[in-house]
């Protein structure tokens, strides 16, 4: 069994219909949460998530927020799960990532994803059909910008003359993670030699299959992925007893899956087709299936330890423990984080 790192997430800074908050309160809370997690060396990374133009203010600017977290913390790594890279200008991402990495003394884990919501691409005047090409070219731009000398890149989506991005990142090799929700993104990540973040919608068996696919693809392509990490997002919650954990976390998890992710057609039916509000029965069924998947990491510390060991047995090396649920009292999730840091992670 591989050693399992644990990060926590995923802060989205939403003021939802179920849990409306002043945004300044949410941003202040994130900074305080980050400082809280910073105290526990067992928590490796704090992860944030991005969307644009959504009614509830879902955080749109992860590298900006990362600047605030860097100023609020000393040790914990700062990750994006994930920055919707195809919706951004790659050169700007490189500049901002480098500044975050310098500011934090080399604590950036740059997590990138394609993005999928039409409205988000529309809002930036980007043709959604170009997103794969933007992603692949963009990675080349970022890697070139992080290296010594100028960028000088000519592609179909990005054209950058011979200019040098300064400052450079603090880390000689900034870890790049790619959010991989299916076979194609996994192969793409393997081709890039990037670490991966697997979807929270996977069963253990599907996770094992995806990890096998990643390594097989890398081998076929001759890419060295020995230093790459295999991350997976898993919703989780720790309390003194299983009953308490279920009572606290399950209603919020159901809301997240049904109302939030449902609105984006993020969940899939048994045939793998996206389901949204237009197919309420199938959406309910998909949400129900996922609740049973995540339920293995919701409970008392001993139970969550077992759940995380099962994940480690699939070959995953990093879990993003998704404990930031909507509308739960802060003291409850700080307690969950503390139990995770002190009672769970040391015993995996």
């Amino acid at each position: 069994m591989a050693d399992l790192e644990v990060g926590v997430g995923i802060w989205s800074l939403q003021s939802t219909k179920a849990g409306p908050r002043h945004f300044s309160y949410l941003y202040k809370e994130l900074m305080e949460d980050a400082a809280f997690c910073d105290q526990f060396p067992t928590i490796k990374t704090i992860w944030q998530t991005e969307h644009h133009f959504w009614y509830d203010g879902y955080c749109p600017s992860l590298l900006t927020v990362a600047g605030g977290i860097a100023a609020a913390t000393k040790r914990i790594r700062i990750g994006q799960a994930a920055l919707l890279f195809s919706q951004h200008e790659a050169l700007r991402v490189a500049q901002q990532a480098a500044v975050v990495d310098q500011l934090s003394g080399g604590r950036l884990d740059l997590g990138l994803a394609l993005g999928y919501r039409d409205n988000e691409f529309d809002g930036f005047n980007i043709d959604r059909r170009s997103r794969r090409r933007r992603f692949e070219e963009g990675i080349q731009v970022v890697k070139s910008a992080f290296g010594q000398g100028g960028v000088d890149f000519q592609g179909r989506e990005f054209s950058v003359p011979d200019v040098e991005v300064t400052p450079k990142p603090y880390q000689a090799d900034v870890p790049i993670w790619v959010a991989a929700v299916g076979a194609d993104p996994i192969k793409r990540a393997a081709k890039l030699g990037a670490s991966i973040i697997l979807s929270d919608a996977l069963t253990l068996e599907q996770m094992r299959h995806h990890i096998d696919l990643y390594y097989t693809s890398a081998e076929e392509l001759g890419v060295d992925v020995s230093k790459a990490k295999i991350g997976v997002l898993r919703r989780g919650w720790v309390a003194e007893t299983d009953d308490e954990a279920y009572r606290e976390a399950l209603p919020s998890l159901r809301f997240l899956l049904r109302e939030q992710l449902g609105g984006w057609r993020y969940l899939v039916d048994e045939q793998g087709e996206p389901v949204g509000f237009d197919r309420p029965k199938e959406l309910d069924a998909a949400a129900h299936r996922l609740v049973s998947v995540h339920e293995r990491t919701i409970g008392r510390p001993e139970k969550v330890v077992r759940g995380l060991r099962e994940i480690a047995a699939t070959g995953a090396t990093h879990v993003i423990f998704g404990t930031r649920f909507d509308s739960l009292p802060r003291q409850k999730y700080l307690r969950s984080l503390e139990l995770l840091a002190t009672e769970v992670i040391p015993n995996i």
Binding site: L13, S15, H22, F23, S24, L26, Y27, K28, M31, H52, F53, D56, G57, C59, P60, S61, L63, T64, V65, A66, G67, G68, I69, A70, A71, A72, E89, L91, Q95, Q96, A98, V99, V100, Q102, L103, G106, Y116, R117, D118, N119, F121, D122, G123, F124, N125, I126, D127, R128, R129, S159, V160, P161, V163, E164, V165, T166, P167, K168, Y170, G276
Partner: protein
């Protein structure tokens, strides 16, 4: 008159100093300035500079908003290079981190910045942007045909200034927003630039290289090389003009000296330009961090009261 600290350029000024330390010192200087009564702290931004100037005022602005509690946070994004929606989103996040303390001073790109980003880095339909685009590829959108930045800033109305040379002054006149002259421009040039930008009862901001010490001799001793070094880095980045001696630069650009000298100079800018908001750099990375902190303190004790404490008795003024 109000006072800000900055713009913090956060460049690497000496090989012996790491950029991470330069940045951390800048955050500490902001906290010091807040303690000593400054109204704001400013994050500069320039792209592709040989001396590694900060390239993201959004990232540093967020860090400043997090570290400080009360003072405003000025961010200076270079606009016109990418879709402005990115900047709008970033600034909204900073404003929420700081609970409504952000000021935006948009900068005009330099030639090198415009070259680096190419002539047309994003597609658009109208004169500037068409948002959303008339996109034939909708497959999942839920009938929404308008885009709105979320979250909104905490402030009801975000203060927006514009910084740069002629082009920026022209934008300020047309948009009727404050023109914010950068520190490297000389006073005789500023008279023309500011003409027609000042609004009745409005803010008239100005950036200056400033350093204060107990005596003018000491101020020069501590700051001359550091300010000259920064100016040379601005020249290398294509921002300032070269070939002027330090004495020539001091005459109409820099404010260096004891409290009386600095006060006299500030009154000069107030008299000739109508300036009522000075953003003073004070922090120079070739200087010892402790000396910078002392200068910030002295500025707060000797300069800020002169311009802010109406009716300050002479007997108390002389104490510092």
């Amino acid at each position: 008159m109000r006072f800000g600290l900055g713009p913090l350029t956060m460049e690497v000024a000496a090989e012996s100093k790491k950029q991470v330390d330069v940045m951390e010192e800048a955050l500490e200087q902001a906290v010091t300035a807040e303690w000593w009564g400054f109204d704001s702290v400013w994050a500069g931004e320039r792209h592709f500079t040989p001396d590694h100037f900060n390239s993201s005022s959004s990232v540093i602005g967020a860090a400043l908003a997090q570290r400080t509690e009360f003072m405003r946070v000025g961010v200076m994004p270079v606009l016109g290079l990418v879709n402005a929606m990115y900047v709008a989103e970033e600034v909204a996040c900073i404003d929420n981190i700081g609970n409504g303390r952000t000021i935006v001073a948009a900068q005009i790109p330099t030639e090198n910045e415009a070259f680096g980003w190419g002539p047309n880095p994003f597609s658009h339909h109208s004169e500037f942007h068409t948002i959303p685009m008339e996109n034939p590829v909708h497959t999942q959108a839920l009938g929404l045909d308008k885009i709105s930045v979320q979250p909104k800033p905490a402030q009801l109305e975000m203060p927006l200034w514009v910084s740069g040379g002629d082009a920026a002054a022209e934008v300020a006149r047309i948009a009727k927003i404050p023109y914010f002259a950068p520190a490297h421009l000389a006073l005789p040039d500023l008279v023309d630039l500011y003409e027609g930008t000042q609004q009745e009862g409005g803010i008239v901001p100005l950036a200056r290289e400033v350093f204060i010490a107990p005596t003018t001799e000491r101020a020069y001793e501590l700051a001359s090389d550091a300010i000259a070094g920064l100016y040379q880095r601005l020249v290398r980045a294509g921002i300032a003009e070269g070939s002027l001696s330090f004495d020539e630069l001091v005459r109409d650009r820099f404010i260096i000296g004891d409290a009386d000298t600095c006060i006299e100079q500030l009154y000069r800018y107030e008299r000739e330009l109508g300036v009522n908001y000075v953003v003073a750099r004070i922090a120079y990375h070739e200087m010892h961090h402790g000396e910078t902190a002392k200068a910030i303190q002295l500025f707060g004790q000797a300069i800020v009261p002169e311009f802010r404490m109406f009716g300050l008795p002479d007997e108390i003024r002389k104490v510092v």
